[in-house]
């Protein structure tokens, strides 16, 4: 018997097909399950990432890189910045930053509203004969679930409290509508089933909200989102072609399981199918990585910021959950084109967002801020840095030495894609660079939304001292975060020594706390002929406007001299 004779045999009945029945629900469930798995394993992924960064930071160069590596690596560097630089007094710059923040807030709200209103016509197309209450429920559900992605793109200062209040209001509205639908339908035949459906719907909404809240967590989202994109593409690449060809393959797919009782041709067929599945899976993974790569390039070229990209992917996931969840179990009545509905759903909000944003801010390089810090995973310390960098990036780029502590805050899609594809080492500098080449690696122009980049400089053990020195010499505004600094922290002590040796303490504001060993810092400075006295010192506080104003002042003084 030929191994292809299975093609001539009738296919199994629909209920026995692998995925033919309830296709969209299965895809929705698979994507949901996979992302839930990613969210659960995110702390492990983060740990692996951090461990890998630490290992790479410990590498010593034993031979210089060939010219070919530098040429390849130059391809990643960003376009040359225009020469003109943002000018204005600190007060003017703060006002400009505030207006850019407002602009992003307004555009985000408009995009969210468009996404919510789009639920009305889309649900009318997908759900057969929806009632007015069903339509309102779809709109309210979309509004509730899209809240979390939207808030990721808003300024940091007030979003947590407002988000919580908005979620509670949204849950009350959705529950009210679900109850109204349930009451209306209970008056029709088969009403008892509706009560169970009401509880299921509310439980599903809470579950999806919980998942969204987890994957948008500040410390997880940098890693979770790129992995989610890879998994979603992987699932779609495996499931959609299978759904298309399944009914045309006769009984070939029914013998995937191999057993000792199979004939030789069955075994060859099963092995062949396993090979095909594995290759399609590899193709799915490859396409998933390509999708992340495309998104990363969008961010790199400034079409999107890292924050709005996260919001966009989040809205896409909400679209997948809502569309695939709304499609009834009778999948045969739907075209496979329904799978594209979430993408279409995203299109109009993106257009509205860009229209409301308006023209790209007509400005040159901003006022860069160099942050020198004690590597720390303390949540309070990280929250301070996060708040500062989220505000400063409307004024200029934030430059930092990459380290394991930043895995919690600053993993962008490009870095994550590099980690997942075992290429993170390509981001590390193996040897010292001169000032020109080092400066070229940093982006200092804003993206289309008016946000400057957070630039991280990763170094191998044999390169960090020289490169940090160059970076200090290039910077006019330096925040020295010495919270928790003790004599044991040799890296930060080395940086203080560099600042003293080069006489650059007038460009620095030092932020300390009750653990900071100021005496050690003073001794360090005295060794290099300086004293602690002229160093501008502040204690950690929530007065970010005041801190940013002072940083801008010293930056302008440094520029003038």
């Amino acid at each position: 018997m030929s191994i292809l004779s299975c093609l001539d045999q009738p296919p199994p009945p629909p209920e026995e097909l692998l995925i033919g029945d309830g296709l969209f629900n299965i895809i929705g469930a698979m994507v949901f399950g996979s992302i839930a798995l990613v969210a659960l394993s995110a702390p492990l992924i983060r740990r692996a990432y951090r461990k890998h960064v630490v290992r790479l930071m410990g590498l010593d160069q034993v031979r210089p890189r060939p010219p070919g590596w530098w040429q390849r690596n130059a391809a990643h560097s960003l376009a040359a910045a225009p020469a003109a630089r943002t000018v204005g007094s600190p007060a003017q710059l703060l006002e400009q930053a505030s207006s850019w923040e407002t602009r992003v807030t307004r555009a985000t709200a408009a995009g969210w509203l468009t996404f919510v209103l789009m639920a009305w016509p889309l649900m009318a197309l997908i759900t057969p004969d929806p009632s007015l209450l069903d339509q309102l429920d779809a709109v309210a559900g979309a509004g509730l679930l899209a809240l979390i992605p939207m808030f990721a793109n808003l300024p940091q200062r007030w979003k947590k409290k407002v988000l919580m209040v908005s979620i509670v209001i949204g849950l009350v509205v959705v529950t009210g509508l679900e109850v109204a639908i349930s009451v209306a339908e209970s008056q029709q035949p088969g009403g008892a089933e509706e009560e169970a459906s009401l509880l299921e719907d509310i439980a599903a909404a809470v579950l999806v909200l919980g998942l969204l809240y987890t994957i948008f967590h500040r410390r997880l989202r940098g890693l979770v989102f790129p992995v989610s994109v890879v998994i979603t593409v992987f699932v779609l690449v495996i499931v959609l072609p299978l759904a298309l060809v399944e009914q045309h393959l006769g009984s070939c797919l029914s013998g995937v399981q191999t057993s000792a009782a199979d004939t030789g041709s069955d075994q060859i067929r099963s092995s062949g199918l396993a090979m095909i599945f594995a290759l399609v899976g590899l193709l799915g993974l490859w396409l998933g990585f390509q999708a992340v790569g495309v998104l990363a390039r969008f961010v790199e070229r400034g079409y999107l910021s890292d924050l709005s990209m996260i919001s966009l992917i989040g809205l896409g996931l909400v679209g997948v959950f809502l569309v695939f969840g709304a499609v009834e179990d009778t999948a045969e009545s739907y075209s496979l084109w329904v799978a594209w509905a979430p993408l279409l759903w995203l299109l109009l909000p993106v257009i509205v967002y860009r229209l409301v944003l308006g023209k790209r801010p007509d400005t040159g390089p901003g006022r860069d801020l160099l942050v020198l810090r004690v590597f720390s995973r303390d949540k309070k310390k990280q929250a301070f840095l996060d708040e500062l960098q989220s505000r400063w990036r409307y004024i200029g780029a934030v430059n930092l030495a990459g380290g394991p502590d930043m895995v919690d805050l600053n993993v962008d899609p490009y870095e994550c894609a590099m980690f997942l594809s075992s290429q993170l080492h390509e981001l590390f500098l193996p040897q010292a660079l001169d000032a020109r080449h080092l400066a070229a690696r940093f982006s200092n122009t804003p993206d289309h939304e008016g946000r400057y980049r957070i630039n991280e400089m990763f170094n191998f053990n044999t390169a960090w001292r020289e490169n940090v020195e160059q970076l200090i010499l290039l910077s006019e505004t330096i925040l020295l975060d010495v919270r928790g600094l003790t004599a044991e922290r040799e890296g930060t002590s080395f940086e203080i020594s560099l600042l003293s040796r080069h006489g650059l303490l007038d460009r620095v504001i030092a932020v300390g706390d009750d653990q900071t060993d100021w005496q050690h810092i003073g001794r360090q400075m005295e060794q290099d002929g300086q004293s602690l006295q002229p160093l501008k010192r502040i204690e950690e506080s929530k007065d970010f406007d005041g801190l940013i104003g002072r940083l801008l002042d010293i930056g302008m003084t440094a520029e003038a001299t």
Binding site: V54, R55, L56, M57, G58, L59, D60, Q61, V62, R63, P64, R65, P66, P67, G68, W69, W70, Q71, R72, N73, T258, S259, A260, Q267, I268, S270, S271, A274, M275, A278, L279, L282, V374, F375, A401, G403, P404, S422, H425, E426, P430, F460, N461, R489, E490, G491, T492, F494, E495
Partner: protein, 106 residues
């Protein structure tokens, strides 16, 4: 712990190499090969693993378990050596290496 090294070729491509035992290679050689960017090796390993699996499935459970243990130990032990052999044979040069003492923190 395995030691991490980086190798570079003339075209500027850079790959990681770990010395020592590889758990991933012991479990799924083709995924390990993909991770090391040995694409042809990965496809060959996949074909071999599937063929091997189709043959082994006909044996008793105990024999299958023993064979899996042998496969895990053998593949896990030799995979990184094969990788190093292939890198050297293709002219890749060692450029960066992990120190035994570990990294410095600031």
């Amino acid at each position: 712990m395995s030691r991490l090294s980086l190798y570079v070729n003339d075209r500027g491509q850079c790959v990681m190499h770990y010395s020592g035992f590889s758990i991933l290679a012991g479990i799924a050689l083709f995924i390990w090969a993909l991770h090391r960017r040995l694409y042809l090796f990965s496809v060959v390993a996949l074909a071999l693993e599937i063929t091997y699996g189709a043959l082994v499935v006909q044996l008793s459970d105990n024999v299958q378990l023993i064979l899996f243990a042998v496969q895990f130990v053998v593949l896990g032990s030799v995979a990184n050596r094969i990788h190093l052999y292939l890198l050297n044979r293709r002219g890749w040069l060692l450029t960066d290496q992990e120190r035994a003492a570990g990294s410095e923190a600031t």
